[in-house]
């Protein structure tokens, strides 16, 4: 029945709606770059969502763990074969996203008889110089965007914009600040997502939507504290100054505890 064009458009529309719903309760992902490197941050319940892809490439994801895993392997394989056949410096985020996974995600999204990838991806690329640092985000329909300085993944474009607006106002010069800003930005996104969920429920019940809370840091910390039960803050770093070729490292729990603001460190353990 999808042979007719308008049926196909309808099917794609349904699929978009279905996928939008899938991300509503996901954990936002934040990438921030500064002089010393790039920080990726998210929260997880056991299964990690931040990964090393290549010497200067890191991945953050939202969505279904099995889909994320499949795409992660795809990226890993492509990056390693490319790096082996050419040179590690020829493995760029742009190349593996634009020629590698974005077309695969797009194809799966548009083939309405097959399952789509329930996944949004953030790929961080550490350049040789700060100006060359890049972030690439890939949406569930295969559209990708290239950004510098920072990038985020959240349930909807509106929430992503809210997080980006928060990030735009912050300055980051140290790892501690990066962690702090990332965690607060996560709280901005997560709170907005929860409110959107509540709003949709209230609308169903015919009630007025609650007003959005201001984004001052005490409120954000309070929000994180409330969310921290059974959840782990996950941080990974692409460190420009390590002398070895692989620049990726995950921040260990004790290191993270020292870097986290106030008493947020404790619930992570």
């Amino acid at each position: 029945m999808y042979e007719e064009p308008y049926r196909w458009i309808e099917a794609i529309g349904n699929r978009r709606q279905y996928l939008d719903g899938q991300f509503r309760q996901g954990s936002p992902v934040i990438g921030i770059g500064w002089d010393a490197g790039i920080l990726l941050m998210t929260t997880s319940k056991g299964t990690p969502k931040l990964y090393e892809i290549y010497d200067r490439l890191a991945l953050g994801g939202m969505g279904h763990p099995a889909d994320l895993e499949k795409l992660r392997f795809h990226l890993l394989e492509m990056a390693h074969v490319e790096g082996f056949n050419r040179s590690p410096s020829d493995v760029t985020g742009g190349r593996i996203v634009k020629y590698g996974i974005a077309p695969v995600i797009k194809q799966a999204f548009e083939e309405v008889f097959k399952a789509p990838f329930i996944v949004k991806i953030l790929l961080a690329e550490l350049g040789q110089k700060v100006e060359k640092d890049r972030f690439l985000t890939v949406n569930f329909d295969g559209t990708f965007e290239e950004k510098s300085q920072y990038a985020v993944l959240a349930a909807s474009p509106a929430i992503e914009q809210e997080m980006a607006a928060y990030l735009r106002q912050q300055s980051v010069v140290s790892l501690e600040q990066a962690v702090n800003v990332a965690v607060c930005s996560w709280a901005v996104g997560d709170r907005a997502q929860r409110q959107t969920l509540e709003e949709s429920r209230d609308q169903l019940k015919g009630q007025d939507a609650p007003a959005r809370l201001a984004s001052d840091s005490d409120l954000l910390y309070e929000h994180i504290r409330q969310c921290m039960h059974g959840m782990t803050i996950e941080c990974a770093l692409l460190d420009r100054h390590v002398p070895v070729s692989s620049k990726y490292r995950a921040l260990a729990p004790d290191e993270l505890e020292r870097l986290l603001p106030n008493d947020l460190g404790h619930p992570t353990t």
């Binding site: 990690p48 074969v81 082996f84 056949n85």
Partner: protein, 257 residues
């Protein structure tokens, strides 16, 4: 198969042909010859190698790096045909990284040893034809057993543990005897030597090898040319800078020269 973290398999699936044909160039002069050594010292393992590459009686290059860092905790010292050896090192480096990134854990030390053995086994036809013989030493830190270890191989891929030391290359027969002598009747066994003393020992051994083997490069102070010396400890692989080798050489090796 790629899902199992085997980069070697991924290469095969991509149609990458490893090694060189056994027939081609069997009668050509190939770049070769070396002295490499590894021994256990107080804090871990020392690996060292000279820097000369020769083709027949021609010195091709005097700044070859034959002690290759494969990852943060392992080193492959190469003796034999550099083209094949460098290719093996490149495959290993990518394999270990690929495994770590896919499986989210380091490949075990035993796994690393087998990976090199597998490459040597694949290379048998080229090695027998004389176009790609490689006789490496593999040393690394085994975190499961909390110890730095040394292994040496034959060209067919058999692995042997060098409990105290291992040598390879054309200059190795000379220093094998010295190592045995020093370790058995010296002031103290190799494994009790502190870092500086171990470095001096390595410089003396390579200088002796160069004295008797024309294919082993010695020290050329005018050209600021020193062997490569690396240490493997629990903290990982560390290279001794040339400036330090220079002062140790002048203080402790020059006397008899």
């Amino acid at each position: 198969m790629g899902m199992q973290g085997d980069f070697y398999q991924v290469l095969k699936e991509q149609g990458y042909v490893l090694g060189v044909s056994g027939e081609a160039g069997a009668h050509q002069h190939l770049t070769t010859a070396t002295t490499i050594l590894a021994f256990k010292y107080l804090d871990g393992v020392l690996v060292a190698g000279d820097r000369r590459a020769t083709a027949g009686n021609l010195v091709m290059y005097d700044r070859t790096d034959k002690v290759l860092e494969i990852d943060r905790h392992s080193v492959m010292a190469i003796a034999g045909v550099p083209a094949t050896a460098y290719e093996m090192a490149r495959i290993l480096e990518h394999s270990f990284k690929y495994y770590r990134r896919t499986q989210l854990q380091e490949l075990s030390f035993e796994g690393k040893l087998r990976a090199l053995s597998k490459l040597l086994k694949e290379n048998i036809p080229a090695a027998l034809a004389g176009t790609g013989a490689v006789v490496p030493i593999f040393a690394g830190y085994d975190s499961e057993h909390d110890a730095a270890k040394i292994y040496f191989y034959d060209i067919l891929g058999a692995e042997f543990e060098g409990v105290e030391y291992a040598v390879s290359g054309s200059g190795s027969p000379t220093i094998r005897g010295i190592l045995h002598y020093v370790n058995t009747w010296g002031e103290q066994p190799l494994s009790e030597m502190p870092e500086e003393q171990a470095t001096v020992q390595a410089l003396r051994l390579l200088t002796s090898a160069a004295e008797f083997d024309s294919a082993t490069g010695g020290v050329n102070r005018d050209a600021n040319l020193y062997p490569v010396v690396k240490f493997i400890t629990t903290a990982g692989v560390r290279t001794i800078p040339d400036s330090q080798l220079r002062s140790l050489f002048e203080l402790n090796v020059c006397r008899g020269l």
